[in-house]
């Protein structure tokens, strides 16, 4: 049974080794914060961090992540203290339906870790996730706000 390192904890994940990490998280481990949107790495709703890199978990088989450090939306706040991105998202009321926002927040958190003061072009390049409600304007504002926080 593969042992995964998720949000700093070691977890047994009993699933076929070819199962995408997305479905291991959701169905095997019950961590439903990571979302299914397309299954082909187009929409980014399933974005998690693998060794700090934002990654679309629908395309990552279980047998490729053993021993690697996985962070999900459930693991980025410090207890009840939101991270800077989450806090900016809260203050600007970024989410509408909210379904894509786990992935958006994971992508933005990774962006800020790599580039603490991103330009609009950096944001365009890093934030390729799909939002159908159309929260892009608020996402851009919130990333800039988080960078200044």
């Amino acid at each position: 049974m593969p042992v995964l390192n998720i949000n700093g904890q070691s977890v047994d994940a009993k699933a076929d080794p070819r199962t995408p990490l997305l479905w291991v998280l959701r169905d095997t481990l019950g961590m439903t914060g990571t979302k299914y949107g397309c299954g082909i790495a187009q929409c980014g709703a399933c974005t998690v961090h693998i060794d700090g890199v934002p990654t679309r978990s629908c395309q990552v088989p279980l047998n490729s992540v053993g021993g690697r450090k996985i962070t999900t939306i459930e693991g980025i706040a410090d207890g009840d203290k939101l991270n800077k991105i989450q806090q900016a998202w809260l203050e600007l009321d970024v989410p509408q339906c909210g379904y894509c926002q786990s992935g958006m927040i994971m992508a933005a958190t990774a962006l800020l870790a790599a580039k603490p003061n991103p330009t609009d072009a950096d944001i365009d390049a890093a934030m390729t996730n799909i939002c159908r409600c159309g929260t892009y304007k608020q996402i851009r504002e919130a990333i800039h706000a988080a960078a200044k926080a």
Partner: protein
């Protein structure tokens, strides 16, 4: 803009929380807790259907409409609380179930969440709900003090007597709940509003930031299995056969079933196992007569309607044909609008638990009562034995108003009594079995007199009717009035914007085989593209500026909205080199909207939408903070459609399968959006949808100015914008 602070999270109805959220908060155990913690526990007092007050002063506002991102949960709560006079910081919300609504004589009235109707249709009765509860709380205080009611006032969850003594709502709730509801329920004068009209934070943000928010797809019940479905690839076709033996021994597979004679479902322990087995399942289809339909057939069908002699008349003034025939100048143009898919981010899903005595369904739905009716029908149980627990929607846009996925889940659950089944559609299933934005074509003919005045106009719409697809019983002598949205002689759904002395707007209905549905913005979308593009074409033929040409013809509120957008955008003033303004306006969903798009097109034909300035007049603006978000979001939805949105068929099958073949707008294409909330008061209009319509139309008019190319067929990606090409 100042933002009032409030709670960051919304405790939703406990009935919706099926599984302990230990897993979601970072633990890994799948802890179960059973659904249904009754809303009316002993210590909780229901003052009336809309208002529940707990001893700690927490106020639960019941919301009948569904939250899918548009903010109705917050807006409707504001309306109740305005009259209730409770402390906004103590407000939470919950959904009553559709089953309770039926049992209580539809006390919450309409659950349907579409047509931007949440606030515009329920504003009166939800405010009365809040006001009635306040009157009862005040009466309870007066009774306890033995003083006249007139000596008591209510504010901020406290009733105060003229002597200065106070009692809290939490204290009074129990006594108030026992009182007769008031017969006279006066409402505040709008000038006295404290909460309505204020930019207030949403009530439902916090859990959407941490992964805790439960959507339908996240539902987990004890012993639950997950199913996924494949319907006949050709809409209207049937299932011929499938070889379950080939996949029954695959990992996790529990059962392979057919439903409705047109779809196969694999039930397994996990979604991935169900999906993997379904992909391996040999299936034979009887695609039926639609299996030979090509996109060119659809186009030919629509073209035929453009010149047909028979058509339903939606709007008629004077003699358009005569006026055009006698006009000094005749202008004519034909436009086309494709099918488009909703593609909400959360794929369609529903969970159902069936026993011969009871059916329970958990799902995101835009119409709880329609979901309940569909579920009961599929289960073949009386409605009284069924209920639907509404979950947060991961987007709806109209798709979740249709209950086809609910029916499917129940049909599967019925074949496995006692086992909770969660049916999840793949994205591919969503793309290929949509309730698509109707496809239409339109021929516009206008006559100008020698001074460039519009003397006659004929708009012939040809194509699909939504009602014919989804609700044929609602057709009026065969006519679908919704087809004329924005072009109607009167009414809130979309009154035509212009005074034209001789006007004919008619519809030759042509229904190809794909199901049409209500798609955010509905028929306003294409009608606005047609009419507003043609207004620019007429203006050019008349040798006039598009704004000047329109202003002469427009009705006052439309003109005011367009002027507000143009003033804000600086229409007519110099723009950066190579930038051009296109304008559009329309009235629909009870509101007046206008947009000014600033665009440029490079010499290689690359379009850049720099900015859209929007004005929206919804009468009363309940929450400008959320309206701005709806307008910006509307442009993303509308521009995604304008740039890329196109569903096509080959051999009757939808050719697009996922976001790789059905592209949508991303962050890098998002224009700057500047929103003017130009609320003129006196009426209640919707905001979730109308502004979508002006996105494409204003951009197309800007493109013409930039390139001299008049794009008449969407999506834009099929058009070469390069000069000279």
């Amino acid at each position: 803009m100042t933002i009032q602070t409030t709670l960051g999270s919304t405790p939703l109805n406990r009935r919706n929380f099926l599984v302990g959220t230990a897993a979601a908060t970072g633990g890994f155990s799948l802890a179960f807790s059973f659904p249904y913690a009754p809303a009316m526990a002993a210590e909780v007092q229901e003052i009336n259907a809309w208002v529940v007050i707990k001893p700690d002063d927490t106020v639960v506002i019941r919301i009948a409409r569904s939250e899918m991102g548009q903010g109705t949960l917050t807006g409707l709560a504001q309306m109740v609380v305005e009259e209730l006079e409770c402390d906004w910081k103590k407000v939470t919300t919950e959904y009553p179930t559709p089953g309770e609504n039926v049992k209580r004589g539809r006390v919450w009235k309409n659950f349907s969440t579409g047509g931007s109707r949440g606030i515009r249709e329920s504003n009166q009765y939800v405010r009365e709900g809040g006001a009635a509860a306040r009157l009862m709380l005040v009466a309870a205080a007066a009774a306890e003090w033995n003083v006249p009611v007139a000596e008591c006032t209510a504010a901020n969850s406290v009733v105060t007597h003229s002597s200065g003594k106070t009692l809290t709502y939490g204290h009074l709730a129990s006594a108030a709940a026992k009182l007769e509801p008031p017969k006279e329920i006066p409402l505040k004068d709008p000038k006295d509003w404290k909460l309505i009209g204020k930019p207030i934070h949403r009530l439902d943000t916090m859990d959407k930031l941490t992964g805790k928010q439960m959507y339908g797809i996240d539902v987990k019940l004890p012993g639950m299995l997950t199913a996924t479905v494949k319907a006949c690839p050709v809409n209207g076709g049937k299932l011929k056969s499938f070889d379950a033996a080939k996949v029954e021994k695959m990992p996790g597979v529990k059962k392979v079933v057919s439903i409705d004679g047109n779809a196969v479902v694999v039930v397994a322990d996990t979604y991935w196992n169900a999906r993997t087995a379904l992909a391996a399942l040999p299936i034979e289809w009887d695609v039926g007569k639609s299996g030979s339909v090509q996109q060119s057939d659809v186009t030919a069908m629509l073209k035929d309607g453009l010149g047909a002699t028979e058509a339903y008349i939606g709007n008629k003034v004077g003699d358009a044909a005569g006026a055009i025939a006698g006009a000094a100048k005749k202008v004519e143009a034909t436009y086309a609008y494709p099918w488009q898919n909703h593609a909400p981010m959360e794929p369609l899903n529903a969970a159902a638990l069936y026993t011969p005595d009871k059916l329970e369904v958990w799902c995101g739905t835009q119409n709880g009562e329609a979901a309940l009716a569909a579920a009961a029908e599929a289960a073949e149980l009386p409605v009284a034995k069924c209920d639907v627990y509404k979950m947060m929607l991961g987007g709806g846009f109209g798709r979740r108003g249709r209950a086809d996925y609910v029916r499917q889940a129940v049909l599967v659950a019925k074949q496995m009594p006692g086992v909770p089944i969660k049916l999840i559609w793949s994205r591919e299933e969503d793309m290929q079995h949509g309730s698509y934005h109707p496809t239409t074509m339109c021929k516009l003919t206008g006559g100008l007199d020698k001074d460039g005045n519009l003397v006659g106009l004929h708009m012939r719409i040809s194509g699909q009717s939504i009602l014919a697809s989804l609700a044929p019983q609602s057709l009026q002598n065969g006519m679908d009035p919704a087809t004329f949205q924005g072009m109607l002689p009167s009414g809130p759904e979309g009154t035509y914007s212009y005074n034209v002395p001789n006007l004919l707007i008619d519809h030759a209905m042509r229904n190809p085989h794909l199901t049409a549905g209500f798609w955010r913005g509905v028929n306003l979308n294409q009608n606005t593209v047609y009419m507003e593009s043609f207004m620019d074409e007429l203006a050019e033929a008349a040798g006039k500026d598009p704004l000047e040409f329109r202003m002469k013809l427009m009705k006052p509120k439309n003109a005011a909205a367009l002027k507000a957008a143009c003033d804000r955008a600086g229409y007519g003033k110099p723009l950066p080199e190579g930038h051009f303004h296109g304008i559009a306006q329309v009235m629909g969903f009870g509101s007046y909207v206008a947009g000014v798009a600033e665009v440029s097109v490079s010499k290689d034909g690359v379009l850049k939408i720099h900015k859209i300035t929007a004005a929206t007049d919804p009468g009363y603006a309940v929450n400008p903070w959320l309206i701005e978000r709806q307008v910006a979001g509307s442009f993303v939805y509308g521009l995604s459609a304008a740039l890329y949105g196109e569903i096509t068929v080959k051999d009757g099958v939808v050719e697009q399968t996922n976001f790789d073949s059905y592209n949508v707008m991303r962050m890098d294409e998002m224009p700057e959006v500047d929103t003017v909330v130009a609320a003129s008061g006196g009426f209640w209009g919707g905001v979730g949808e109308p502004t979508i319509a002006v996105a494409a139309a204003s951009v197309l008019n800007g493109i013409y100015k930039a390139t001299g190319k008049r794009v008449r067929e969407l999506p834009l990606m099929n058009n070469e914008l390069k000069k000279g090409a």
